[in-house]
């Protein structure tokens, strides 16, 4: 256990700049969105924005269309904006593919030449992925809290703590599931670049599948395969409770992905 602690500390030290900068940028992004929402609210422009949205987009968004035309909707957008999702995904994949990078660079040779079981390497990466996800979501929540308290009027229609919490939990599980998928891919690959590219392509395909299925009915038959299907920010912002099914599916993907990563890493040759 002492070795695990030192492995975690070393990895966190290694990725500290990435995590610090990502955390600050994500928090700042929340603040910027709140400033934007505040500006729109002050100029009573939410109704004008509604007129600008084309009908087909209204059809896609359905009843959640109204959500975008509110202060709360714009604030919550920070939890499912493509830029935020992309940033979180990139951090998750970067962390999840560290085991394969260590094999590629030969650093792991020095580590595993010691009396240290291989599974600690995967456990360490899993825990660092978990810590990082919680930290980044916490930074986003801090950004939201700071932005609301510093820049928003009290009667602007703030999102409730439950809504922000539900979004953060759902988003966190989604990112953990992608971290697990990327780690399993990494444990089967010889190169970090290959693992990152495969995970990126897979995520893009899954994201587009989910997105297309919202507008094009035939795509719904395969949309259930996309992890993004189990992140339902529009419903959450509209006040729906966090569906247990989403949590089970995303949690299941994460558990299966990490388990596969363990098996693959334990069985593979460590050669660069």
């Amino acid at each position: 256990m002492t070795a695990l602690f030192h492995l975690i500390a070393q990895l966190l030290h290694r990725v500290r700049k990435l995590l610090l900068s990502a955390g600050v940028l994500l928090a700042a992004f929340q603040v910027v969105l709140i400033l934007q929402a505040n500006s729109i609210q002050s100029s009573n422009s939410f109704s004008k924005m509604g007129d600008l949205i084309p009908p087909f987009l209204r059809d896609i968004l359905g009843s959640s269309f109204a959500m975008f035309l509110s202060f709360k909707g714009i604030v919550c957008l920070g939890y499912f904006h493509p830029v935020v999702m992309g940033a979180l995904f990139s951090v998750s994949v970067t962390l999840a593919t560290i085991p394969v990078m260590e094999i590629e660079t030969g650093f792991i040779d020095l580590v595993l030449a010691r009396s240290l079981a291989r599974h600690w390497i995967v456990t360490r990466s899993l825990l660092v992925a978990l810590i990082s996800t919680v930290y980044l979501l916490a930074m986003m929540a801090v950004g939201t809290w700071l932005g609301l308290n510093k820049f928003a009027a009290k009667d602007a229609g703030w999102p409730s703590f439950e809504v922000v919490g539900s979004l953060a939990i759902n988003l966190g599980l989604l990112m953990l599931s992608w971290a697990a998928i990327a780690m399993a891919i990494g444990c089967a690959c010889r190169r970090r670049g290959s693992a990152g590219a495969i995970a990126g392509l897979l995520a893009l395909t899954a994201y587009l599948t989910d997105y297309i299925a919202r507008a094009w009915k035939p795509a719904e038959s395969i949309a259930w395969l996309s992890p993004f299907r189990y992140y339902t920010p529009f419903d959450l912002v509209m006040g729906a409770p966090l569906p247990a099914k989403n949590l089970y599916v995303l949690g299941g993907i994460a558990v299966a992905g990490f388990a596969l990563a363990y098996v693959l890493y334990m069985r593979r040759d460590i050669s660069h």
């Binding site: 002492t2 070795a3 030192h6 492995l7 070393q10 030290h13 290694r14 260590e102 660079t105 030969g106 650093f107 792991i108 040779d109 020095l110 580590v111 595993l112 030449a113 010691r114 009396s115 240290l116 079981a117 069985r267 040759d269 460590i270 050669s271 660069h272």
Partner: protein
Amino acid sequence: MPSGPSAISINGLTKRYGKITAVNRLDLEVPPGEIFGFLGLNGAGKTTTIRILLDLLRPTSGHAAVFGHDCQSDSLQARSAVGYLPGEMGIYSDLTGRELLVFLERIGGKPVSGKHRNNLIERFELSDRDLSRKLREYSTGMKRKLGLIQAFQADPLLLILDEPTEGLDPLMQEAFYQLLADVRKRGRTVFMSSHVLPEVERVCDRIAMLRKGEIVLLSSVEDARKLSSRRVRVTFGEDVDPPPNLPPGYELIDAQPRAWTLRVTGQLGGLPSFLVAFPVADLAVEEAGLEDVLVRYYREVAE
């Protein structure tokens, strides 16, 4: 003979990558206290064997054990006795030299004596300032020195060193040889691969030569040297013609009117009687070298 299990015991070890056989039915015993040289050209299977000993690679068949502990099924015990220097040291460049040594000590689970580590640091002439620098600022030689310090710092029973002196300057090579002499005195075992044959001749008790994953020569350094041919340079006081026939084991490899270079395989006892008929002015015998026997061995096996 030392009692107890061999420091390294390899039986029928085979490693295949698809159709390529990297190591083929390797058998080897290295007793405790020996300095063993593992030789071979690039791709001969040296590093593959070393990586199997460390459980970094899994063998296709066969077994390897360190002090009686199977390198796969009991790998934690096996590795607890090992200090390892990789051929190419992959490092995390944002750490300082000292941080790397401390990190590797902490995950090794075996306390390192500060006195012992400082002694190693002194031997390899790394200053406090050097150890406080980030590894990205280290030269190749400094990285090698740090690699040696981390391998030796826990004072392991078995040292597995892959090309240990590559990148070291002659002074540091000398420091390394002295360190080997010290660990030998304390009964430690060293298993080292090397391309530097004079180094192997100097420090190793026994050698194994690997070719295409198979051991083609396993002997003491002394015995290997006996297999070699020696060069004899003979200078004459006047012009002479090359003889039509040479005694068995003799080969004339260069014939000038007043100088010959002979390659003599085996004992030199017959040399005076062979040369008695010639006006010999000077005679020089080059010491038998391991390099010569290994090159010859490789050539013969290849043919």
